[in-house]
Symmetry: C2
Subunit: 189 residues, 2 copies
C-alpha cells in the first residue's frame, strides 16, 4: 500500500497547474466565460485529467475559494509575526485589520477573484467566515444597544465590512489597512 494518495507528486503538480491556470484566466475574463477547454489548454493538461480532479468548473471555483480562505482566516489565528500590533491579540478590531494586511500582502491573487464579476460564491464564503469570527471575538451585544435583532445586526455588520473591503480593492488599496479599519469603525459605531 501507498502512503496518502494525496502526496503523489503528479497529483500535486496537476492540481497546482490547473488552479494556477484558472487564476491566471480570471485576470483576463470573467468566470462565466472561462471554459474547461481554456483551463486545460493553459494548464497543459488532458481533458480527462481535469475531470479526474474536479467534478465541474464550479467545483474548481469552490476549491479555489476554500484555499484562499484558509490563507486569510488561518493567518489571524496563528501568531503571525509579519505585522506587529501594539497590543497582544484577541480583539475583533485587530483581527479585522490583520485580515486586511493579509489581503494586501497577497494582493494580486485576491484581486483576481475579488474583481471577478460573478464571485458571489466567494463573497458568501467570506461573509460566513466573518460571522463566525465576529461571533467568537465580537463585543458583547451591539445589537441590543441599537435595538435591532441579533441576526439583522450581524448581517449588517459583516456586510458593511465586506463592502468596505470591496471599496478598498476597487480603489487600488490606496489607503492603509489601519485607515480603512478606522473608516469602518467610524461608520459602524
Amino acid at each position: 500500500m501507498y502512503g496518502k494518495t494525496d502526496m503523489d507528486r503528479r497529483i500535486q503538480k496537476t492540481r497546482t497547474a490547473i488552479m494556477a491556470a484558472f487564476e491566471a484566466l480570471l485576470t483576463e475574463k470573467r468566470y462565466e466565460q472561462i471554459t474547461v477547454q481554456d483551463i486545460i489548454n493553459r494548464a497543459n493538461v488532458g481533458r480527462s485529467t481535469f475531470y479526474a480532479h474536479f467534478e465541474t468548473r464550479d467545483d474548481l471555483l469552490k476549491y479555489t475559494c476554500q484555499e484562499l480562505f484558509e490563507h486569510v482566516f488561518n493567518a489571524h489565528l496563528s501568531s503571525e509575526k509579519s505585522h506587529d500590533f501594539s497590543g497582544g491579540e484577541g480583539t475583533l478590531d485587530m483581527m479585522l485589520t490583520h485580515i486586511l494586511y493579509h489581503l494586501k500582502d497577497d494582493r494580486q491573487r485576491y484581486l483576481r477573484i475579488f474583481s471577478c464579476e460573478s464571485a458571489d460564491l466567494f463573497w458568501r464564503y467570506f461573509q460566513s467566515q466573518l460571522e463566525v469570527l465576529v461571533k467568537r471575538y465580537g463585543a458583547k451585544d451591539p445589537a441590543a444597544d441599537k435595538k435591532v435583532p441579533e441576526d439583522y445586526y450581524m448581517n449588517y455588520y459583516c456586510s458593511a465590512y465586506i463592502e468596505s473591503v470591496k471599496w478598498w480593492f476597487q480603489n487600488n488599496m490606496k489607503i492603509s489597512p489601519e485607515e480603512l479599519a478606522a473608516y469602518f469603525a467610524r461608520v459602524t459605531v
Copy 2:
C-alpha cells in the same frame, strides 16, 4: 409606413411571453443554468424569434432588470396614493420606505430575481439607482461628520440599505417596511 414598430401586437405578445417564461424559470433554477432552449420552450416561441428580440441571454436579463427598476424607482417620484405617509414628500427616509412598500406589494416578482443566486447585475443596478437617489435627496453631509471620504460613505450607506433589503427578503418580509426602515436608521445613524 407603419407607426411605431413596437406597437405591433405580435411583438408585444412575443416579448411578454419570453419575459414571463424567463421570470417563471428563475423561480425554478438559477440564471446560469437556464438555457435559451428552456426559455423558448416555456414561452412557446421559435428559436429565431428569440434572437430577433434579444441578442443573448444576458441581454434578456438586462432588460428584465431594467423593467423591474422602472417600477421601483419611478414609483417614488410619482405621487403614489397607495401608501400614505404622514408628511408631504421629499425626505430620503420616506422614499426608502416607499421603495420597501413597492417591493412588498410586488413581492412575488422581486423574490424571483432577488433570490436568484447570480443576480449581481440586478443588485448593481439597484445600488447605482440608490446612489442617485441618495445624492439627490440625502441629508447634507453625513460623511463629513464621520470623517470618512464621501464615496466611502456613499458606498457604505447604499450597501447597508441593500443588505437590509436582502435580509428582509430572506426572512420572508416578516416585519413591516417601517420596522425595517427603523432598523436601518438605527444602525446607520
